[in-house]
């Protein structure tokens, strides 16, 4: 029997790492990876809470896992589009440094 | 019961990995020789004894073991050393869910010939197989060699594509057998169905011979199209000819394992052969009835023998028979793969991709829909 609070704590830690990755890395690919990491942390929290509340007032609940599946689908879509953007950006700028993509400003 | 598990694991290693895989190398050589009208491997001898060249695998092992293990300049050392393991390990642990036999009762102890009889066995195999992709990709990237890089790229593209298709092609089988547990699939195929049963079902004719014309209830008879597509997809997943574009000797020398030598190359080599066995075992289990003897159900066997001798002996014999049947089927599937590998030329890259995305994928989806319709029609 796992210590659930530690599971949630783990997801929090992973999420924070992902946030820091998005925030500090300038390599667009790694930023995307960090976003994936955040999504995974959320998934872990989903499953953990679903496990905790799997017998909420007696009814077996699996909604958390359903949401995990949905999140995974969304993540797949997001990666496909994100990498497509990244490719075209690399084609135009010959770099994946986000700081070089700053035309859209005042 | 860890003991039982350990026994099973050891058995798998002994028979499947250490035993069968080397033999397959020999089989391949012999078959290619036969198909090319040569004599084939027969030179390695031990004091004049060649055993039809059966000593060659041993010689190979010795050679690979004793070769120098080269890591090219500028390569990413860790990855370079790691990737053969990433390639080989998944192939081996995939055996965990393959049922070598059914579930048998010896008195009050039950014998289940599956290492890990998990409910989602097929998913497990897919997951493992998807991990196996990294071996080649990383190998291709970490070798710091353009040919390897190209090989890795090709491998990654090909394996991603064919994973999707491979998953979709067997959905029809899930729908037929209503399970993902491989042992259940095999058990479900341990019966037979009447070829012309529909005459009685839908036309109400009950002629005597209808009961006698039977087929084993194998997946291949329920899902012929699924069988072909699955075979194609999973062979492409294995990157052997005719799908060996990641290696593609004539184009990119040896592809992703260009920079490997010694036992690391041997690991790639072995992983391919182990995957052949996995493919054979998987197709045998899903489509060819696994350990089931055609038209002869377990109860029939045990009953028949136990009428002569004791039940315990009968069951033991049944275990052997089933295991033999399973291995026969596996060998047969291995032979089929060899046949294909030596008959067909290598596809072009775009052809492989077209086959995956433009033929197999739509066909498998159509297959799913057709299966669903038929199931609705039959089961109401």
């Amino acid at each position: 029997m796992l210590p659930m609070d530690h599971v949630i704590a783990l997801s929090a830690i992973l999420f924070t790492i992902g946030v820091l990755g998005v925030a500090t890395r300038r390599n667009l690919i790694v930023m995307l990876m960090s976003i994936e990491l955040m999504l995974n942390a959320a998934n872990l929290a989903f499953v953990g809470f679903n496990r905790i509340w799997s017998q909420l007032e007696g009814v077996p609940a699996i909604d958390g896992q359903i949401f995990v599946l949905m999140v995974i689908a969304v993540a797949a879509a997001e990666v496909a589009v994100g990498l497509g953007i990244l490719l075209s950006m690399f084609r135009n700028r010959d770099s994946v440094n986000v700081e070089e993509v700053n035309l859209l400003k005042w | 019961m860890p003991i039982e598990a350990i026994v099973k694991v050891l058995f798998i290693f002994a028979v499947m990995v250490m035993g069968l895989a080397p033999i397959i190398t020999w089989i391949e050589r012999k078959q290619s020789a036969v198909m090319q009208d040569r004599i084939g491997a027969n030179r390695a001898d031990l004091g004049g004894i060649t055993l039809l060249g059966l000593l060659h695998p041993a010689a190979d092992v010795i050679k690979l073991m004793t070769k120098e293990d080269v890591v090219p300049d500028g390569a990413n050392r860790v990855m370079h050393l790691l990737s053969p393991l990433i390639a080989a390990v998944p192939a081996i642990i995939a055996f965990a869910v393959i049922p070598f036999g059914g579930v048998y009762q010896f008195g009050d102890t039950t014998l289940n010939l599956v290492a890990a009889d998990i409910d989602w066995g097929l998913l497990y195999i897919f997951a493992i197989g998807s991990i196996a992709a990294y071996g080649t990709v990383i190998a291709g990237w970490s070798s710091n060699n353009n040919w390897s890089m190209l090989g890795g790229l090709r491998a990654s593209a090909q394996m991603i594509s064919y994973e999707v298709t491979m998953g979709l092609t067997v959905v029809g089988v899930f729908m037929v057998f209503q399970t993902l547990r491989l042992s259940d699939m095999a058990l479900a195929q341990d019966t037979s169905f009447r070829i012309f049963g529909f005459l009685e079902l839908y036309l109400g004719l009950n002629w005597g011979w209808i009961d006698w014309l039977r087929l084993p209830a194998w997946g291949i008879f329920y899902q012929p199209l699924g069988f072909l597509m699955f075979l194609a997809a999973i062979m492409a997943e294995n990157k052997r000819p005719p799908f060996d574009i990641p290696e593609g000797e004539s184009e990119i020398i040896a592809g992703y394992h260009l920079e490997y030598s010694g036992m690391r190359f041997g690991l790639f080599f072995m992983s391919e052969f182990i995957e052949i066995i996995i493919i054979a075992a998987l197709t045998a289990t899903i489509f060819l009835g696994g350990w089931a003897v055609p038209l002869l159900s377990t109860d029939a066997i045990i009953g028949g023998i136990s009428s002569v001798m004791g039940v315990g002996f009968a069951t033991g014999l049944c275990v052997l028979i089933h295991f033999a049947t399973f291995m026969l089927k596996v060998i047969f599937m291995i032979w089929v793969q060899m046949l294909l590998r030596w008959s067909l030329p290598r596809f072009r890259y775009d052809q492989v991709m077209n086959l995956c995305w433009k033929i197999l994928l739509p066909l498998s989806i159509a297959n799913i829909f057709a299966t669903g319709l038929v199931l609705l029609w039959v089961k109401g």
Binding site: V19, A23, T24, M31, V98, V101, N102, L103, K105 | -
Partner: protein, 680 residues
Amino acid sequence: MVDVGTESDLLRWIPLLPLLVAAYHGISIGFLRRPTPPRVAAVVSCAAVLLAFVLSCIAFRDLLALPANSRVLVDDVYTWIGAGIGSSALSAEVSFQLDPLSAVMILIVTFVGSMIHIYSIGYMEDDHRDDKGIQRFFCYLNLFTFAMLVLVLGDNLVLMFLGWEGVGLCSYLLIGFWYSDSFNAYCGSKAFIVNRIGDFGFLIGVFLLFGALSEIGHPAVSFAGIQEHFDGIVEMTIAVPAWMPFGPEWRLVNVIGLCFFLGACGKSAQIPLYIWLPDAMAGPTPVSALIHAATMVTAGVYMVCRLSFLYAAAPEASAVIAWTGAITALVAATIAMAQNDIKKVLAYSTVSQLGYMFLAAGCGGYAAAIFHLGTHAFFKALLFLGAGAVILAMHHEQDMQKMGGLWRQLRLTRWVFLVGVCAIAGFPPLSGFFSKDEILIAARASHVPGHNWLYGIGLATAGMTAFYMFRLWYLTFCGECRAVADVRNHIKDPNGFVLNPLRVLAFFSVFAGFAGLPQVWGDIISIEESNSLANFLTPVLAVGELHAIEHSQELWMASWAVAAALAGTGLAWLSYLRKPRIPGWLAANLSGPYRALFNKYYIDELYDVVIVRPIVALSDRVLYRIVDARWIDGIGVNGTAHGIRAFAANGLKYAQSGLTQSYVFFMIVGAVAIVSYLLR
């Protein structure tokens, strides 16, 4: 719920058929832009209405099959509006109810309606003002039929209001049918706006009634429900400022009744809201016949009779109704005497006849009102259609000064027209005689203050009616033809589509009266229960208590009415046939009264000065130029936009640094803030 009556799925089809056809027309000319051939479209519409008539007959038969005290057919289709819970729950069903009252109404509506549809085929034939005109016309006609049927069949006030608005809309559309002429469009909008005033009253009435009923815990909009719980609100009063007459407390039922009557005034063209009806003559003549004579304008009367239980409990409101009706009848009749436009004359006579009906209703003679409604529907439709025939023959010339002497050419029209004139003038034994007689008796017998005066006004109006109708007939058909030559040479009876409905309507104008033969005459020719209409209607109509009037007196009153009619006729004969100089002489010497009559007492001008101009000025100068343009647009809309633009341009834009990670940073800061708030 009181006894809901017998289920019958037939009813819903009666309104639905015309609606479907109307929808078909609308789609084919509106969306598909592929008009059906005019003849086909016309035939389809007529078929729909005729079928509706047949269904009505069947439903009527089913109704008669039921025992007399429970003659109700209901058809509950679906819940239209469901709102609120408990003691204020509003549940407006789309459900139709056929009781004797609505049965009479739908018979009249569908029958006269189908006659007029057929007539329209012939009348609109030569209308080439636009290509899809005919189909548009029939689309509106069917839509009107649908709305009218919903109005009379609906079993609750909300559904009735739907039909009420629907007929208003169709009347607007049809008055302005030839919209290319801006005057017609103006008349249409005038009718619509004046009707809106009435509808306002109607709505207030509905709200008051519903509010009162939900106060006693029985929210209901269906007539049955209202009638069931009505006793609970009879005694209610509402406080009004002390300076108002009859203050400081008014009986609620009176207020409600007056509100509804305001609605009736608008729809049925009573003082003070009658001014739209004469202008409504701008529409095609069949429209004037169907909407502005036979059916729609009687909706108010129908509504008052439908709520008769309410008015029976509100004597003051009834008195107001009676007096309004009487005065309207008199005023309209006087105006009608001086008009020269043939349709204007008929229009004012319609107003005056409607006044009659309200007089009857106000006096508690609801059956008489409905009776007159029916007969009036027949002969007024007949008169309008005859006028239409004349107009056709005269090539769309409506001025009676340019007619005359049509006796020789219009060989059929002259007779049917004469029948109509006699019927409205009230010569026995034509239908108008009996119904008008009933009304006069009701006025005489009622308890309304000054009921004898009412009777006198009614009698005088009867005389005037005879006068102006015969004036019209003489001017049109007798004497010398005053038309220009080329018109004069091709005057002839129109085609069969026009004539056959006239024949049918003439027949009914003659004999419809016997449906409600007063018991007096019944006794004379020894028929038991001769007044079948009144007996038929008794279960649904309340009866105001009346003086007993013995039969001899009734006969005397009848003869007085006939005498008045004869006098009017004689006067008309004298002044327009015998001595045609008299009218001119009168107009010259009593020019003041004459011009007043001729110009309809300058009512329109009065309204224009008193109401229209101030409102227009207010809306234009204040509401539009200041409130809308300056405040709402200037400050509200553009001000916001400018402000935000300035703010964004000078401050906000720097937030968009173009550096992805600064955005991320702000996101994180926001997340931290939110999380720390949640976990505080």
